[in-house]
């Protein structure tokens, strides 16, 4: 087999490299090209489609293309945030795979000069009745906890689903959020001829060589062989690196900074060079190594964790090195900026690679892969009328996709940093205060792949709207989003068709909701054998609450006697709800339409209602439908509900449809008239559902007929036990 094919390049790609160089690349050069031209690093299949997404907005300070996106929150402060996948490594070695995913995304945030203040994780696994899935799930959670807890960044939110399609290919998407003084924002730029290039942090070993290439292939059944492609994380080292880098940035005289992630020294040097339009010369003999006898090929491709590349103003390198030494870290001048446009690599006094940075970055191939838009088949119907609503509610509350997630988030330190105002489990999004201001930010990830699989375009809209609503119910105004697009093999037209449709849906949603995309990550090849995962766009979103004192909306019902209202128009489609799956299995029935216009009105309305003191709580309708949402707000407030209203829908449709864009709010009776007037004036549909009671009772009557009467405490026990029982 030709060498380039072993490294993941096609014959045509190899031919292009030879043509560009006008010579054959040597082995080091070929390795560098192969990793930079891998799907993981080059985005060659997704690039032309990603361009369609809106990336500009009044709050956007930094859009896609940097280590992380940044939005402006006023007071001279910005929020840097990004999400990234670590799916392939986590499938092979769940603890280290997840841990290093967390480590990598943290480095992207502090490379911007931001102090990381929160982590989120979006996780997908197969069903928990498989021992292998339980192993992956518990390992991934422990890995996230092991890294995040040790480094001392709180893991405050996320989402997790258990669906058959992820059995062989779990998804681990990690998001980090940081705060930065905008005047101190840093970029990953290499410039200034003669400026020294410093490699700081951990030593370089043989781990993770060709990790980027590995992440650009389907997993094989013998994926265990790829275990050496998985890196090992050292959160203690990263904590030192984080503190030292921020201290060095505070000292100043740093031109640019970038982490060494996928494709290690090769990608960090070429990407920094490309952004600064400069050349870089590297002397590999100076790189502190973990093991003897490493070749230049291995050093350039190593994905050893906890390393950063810094470009420093000439003459200040000794002072910067001193800061790293204070933290007992390596810091070595490994090269310098040159006037050319080339990455020149020296080893043992010889030039072992000389490649124009353009070849490694902008000259990487871009493919418009053939795609086939999936056909939407709404062929069947079900009759849910025979299902007992009380029984359905009990089963749904303990369904692992709905039940309380404390098994997960109690393993995460979610309070370190003393900023966590709304902790996991207490609302639809986490809320953190911004010390020294009245402000708070709300953060959340979302993306139910099941809806996307059955209707990619609507499913993508749903993911964006749901994330936005999850922020809005806390009183926040969405500022921007980052996305992690997880798909199967893009070389298959039907997978590429899913991708194209998802981008179209996201574009619509971002434009109508006015939420720009500030960056993200694409993960293809999430398939094993013939089985691809559900197409899963994960949306990570950040929103702002101007004044936590007056603007923060709780999820829990607050006071006995408060009236409960539903905002938004329920339509009753059961398509792809947990109810449908629970009682009818994988049936192709219509999914609820995603009404972005109404969603936008609700997102704008909620903070307004709160500021005028008209609502006491808010919670969106999501997995499990209206009945489950009512229970969640009731459990959180330890108050019951009496629901009684008129509807033309079947009770099962009304209570268990998962239409996105519905929000339940509670209102003091004396404010009801004013509340109703304002909502009606905004054009949002509103229905009075019932009231909050002080009893241990969840009672739901529709059209005068009682359909559910259960004890609150009994339902709560099911909700709290569901996930743990599924693990036994």
């Amino acid at each position: 087999m030709a060498k380039w094919r072993e490294m993941g390049l096609t014959d045509e790609e190899y031919r292009r490299i030879v043509e560009y160089l006008d010579r054959e690349p040597n082995e080091v050069e070929l390795g560098m090209c192969a990793v930079m031209w891998s799907e993981h690093c080059s985005y060659k299949s997704s690039k032309i489609h990603l361009k369609k997404l809106p990336t500009k907005g009044p709050a956007v300070v930094q859009g896609p293309g940097e280590n992380a996106g940044v939005v402006d929150i006023g007071d001279g402060l910005g929020i840097a945030f990004k999400i990234e996948s670590h799916n392939h490594p986590s499938a092979i070695e769940p603890y280290q795979g997840a841990a290093t995913g967390v480590g990598g995304i943290i480095r992207d945030i502090f490379a911007m000069g931001a102090r990381p203040i929160a982590l989120l994780d979006s996780l997908r696994f197969g069903k928990l009745d498989s021992p292998r899935v339980r192993h992956l799930f518990t390992g991934v959670v422990a890995g996230i906890a092991g890294y995040g807890n040790c480094i001392g960044i709180p893991t405050v939110a996320g989402d997790v689903y258990f669906q058959e399609s992820y059995a062989e290919n779990p998804l681990v998407n990690a998001m980090c959020v940081g705060i930065v003084e905008l005047s101190k924002l840093k970029k990953g730029v290499a410039s200034g001829v003669g400026n020294p290039v410093l490699l700081v942090g951990a030593t370089t070993g043989r781990d993770g060589i060709h990790g980027a290439t590995f992440a650009s292939e389907e997993l094989s059944r013998d994926g265990e062989d790829k275990r050496p492609s998985v890196q090992v994380g050292d959160p203690f080292m990263e904590k030192l690196l984080l503190e030292a880098c921020l201290e060095a940035l505070e000292y100043g005289h740093i031109v640019g900074m970038q982490d060494l992630g996928a494709a290690g020294l090769t990608s960090s040097s070429s990407e920094m060079a490309a952004r600064g339009k400069s050349g870089i010369r590297l002397y590999l003999d100076r790189v502190p190594l973990r093991e003897e006898g490493m070749t230049p090929y291995e050093i350039m491709l190593s994905e050893s964790q906890e390393r950063m590349l810094l470009v420093v103003e000439k003459g200040y390198e000794d002072e910067i090195i001193k800061i790293f030494k204070k933290w007992d870290l390596n810091a070595v001048v490994v090269g310098e900026i040159t006037a050319g446009e080339e990455i020149e690599v020296f080893f043992g006094g010889e030039c072992v690679a000389k490649l124009p940075y353009r070849l490694l970055t902008e000259e990487a191939p871009v493919y418009d892969r053939p795609y086939q838009v999936p056909e939407i088949k709404n062929l069947q119907s079900v009759n849910p009328a025979g299902v007992d609503c009380g029984e359905a509610l009990r089963r749904l509350l303990q369904n692992p996709n709905i039940a309380r997630r404390d098994y997960v988030y109690e393993q995460y330190d979610h309070q370190v940093g003393v900023n966590t105002v709304v902790k996991p489990g207490y609302s639809d999004a986490a809320v953190l205060r911004i010390k020294g201001t009245k402000k708070g930010i709300a953060v959340k990830t979302d993306g139910n792949g099941r809806y996307v699989y059955f209707n990619p375009r609507e499913g993508a809209k749903r993911a964006v709207l749901e994330a936005a609503l999850n922020l809005a119910v806390t009183g926040a105004r969405p500022l921007g989003l980052t996305n992690c697009l997880n798909f199967g093999n893009p070389e298959k037209p039907e997978i590429m068709g899913q991708f194209v449709e998802v981008i179209a849906g996201m574009k619509d949603a971002c434009e109508i909701l006015n939420i720009p995309v500030t960056g993200g990550n694409v993960s293809f090849y999430n398939e094993t054998g013939e089985k691809a995962i559900y197409p899963t766009p994960v949306i990570g979103m950040v929103g702002l609450i101007d004044d936590l004192e007056t603007g923060l909306i709780p999820m829990a019902f607050q006071t006995e006697g408060d009236l409960i209202y539903l905002l938004g128009e329920p339509t009753g489609e059961l398509g792809q709800s947990e109810f449908l799956k629970e009682f009818f299995g994988d049936v192709l029935v219509p999914v609820p339409p995603v009404d972005l216009q109404e969603g936008k009105k609700i997102i704008d309305l909620l903070p307004l209602l709160k500021k005028q003191g008209l609502i006491n709580s808010a919670h969106d309708v999501s997995d499990g439908g209206l009945a489950v949402s009512l229970c969640e707000a009731a459990f959180a407030g330890e108050l019951g509900v009496n629901i009684d209203f008129i509807t033309s829908l079947l009770p099962q449709e009304m209570l268990f449809s998962e239409k996105v864009g519905l929000v339940i709010v509670s209102v003091s009776p004396e404010k009801a008239n004013e509340f109703e007037e304002i909502v009606k004036a905004s054009g949002v549909a509103v229905t009075k559902l019932g009231r909050v009671n002080g009893n241990d009772e969840i009672e739901i009557c529709l059209n005068g007929q009682r359909v559910i009467k259960e004890k609150l405490s009994e339902l709560k026990a099911l909700y709290e036990g569901g996930l743990r029982w599924a693990l036994k």
């Binding site: 040790c150 959160p235 393993q411 309070q415 370190v416 105002v421 902790k423 010390k435």
Partner: protein, 234 residues
Amino acid sequence: MRFGVVVFPGSNCDADCFHVLKNVFGRETVYIWHKDDSFDVDCIVLPGGFSYGDYLRAGAIARFSPVMKKVVEFSEAGGLVIGICNGFQILLEAGLLPGAMLRNKSINFRCHDVYLRVENNETPFTNKALKGQVLKIPIAHGEGNYYCEPDTLKRLIANGQVVFRYCNSRGEVTEDANPNGSLYNIAGIINEKGNVLGMMPHPERCSEKILGGEDGRVIWESIIAYLERGANRG
């Protein structure tokens, strides 16, 4: 009155303790670097975190740092020392408090609110609390399962050295209320002399209303009151 928060490599609650003392209570507070071998403060805080990564055993390496030699001298001279979470583990490893910390009974790291009963309010750290008062304070640890020899436990109890025990919201000390399998539901102990406290829960995380609880304040208020009475300076 000056507080000193020790920063070990891997400390991660140092800034939180600093924030509470400086910004919430308005007290002069300084960081003390682990390589420092002198300081001039009235109370030392050993904060939570993963000092030196805690790859060996929580707190096992930190006790050899230069600053700990001085912390031992400071405590011998009567200076106040409070160790929280990893700080408690370091105090045990350094021999300033008796006993050892084992892995949580549940194996997993646990982060959630617990209830503590104040067993002894005649200490510099609890003088503003009532005896038997129930405090709601969060924990966040994987190794908080306190253990000591039976004779040591007897002595701790007899001397009133058990300061906090895990209990339920009604103040009853039960097995269910014990989050980590800790012996005798111990959450915090003091040395015989009464100037060194170690506790697993994090009072700095519940000293501001906006964070959902203020039960941690009583510990800081007690220390401040004690120091204001002009007691011993180390």
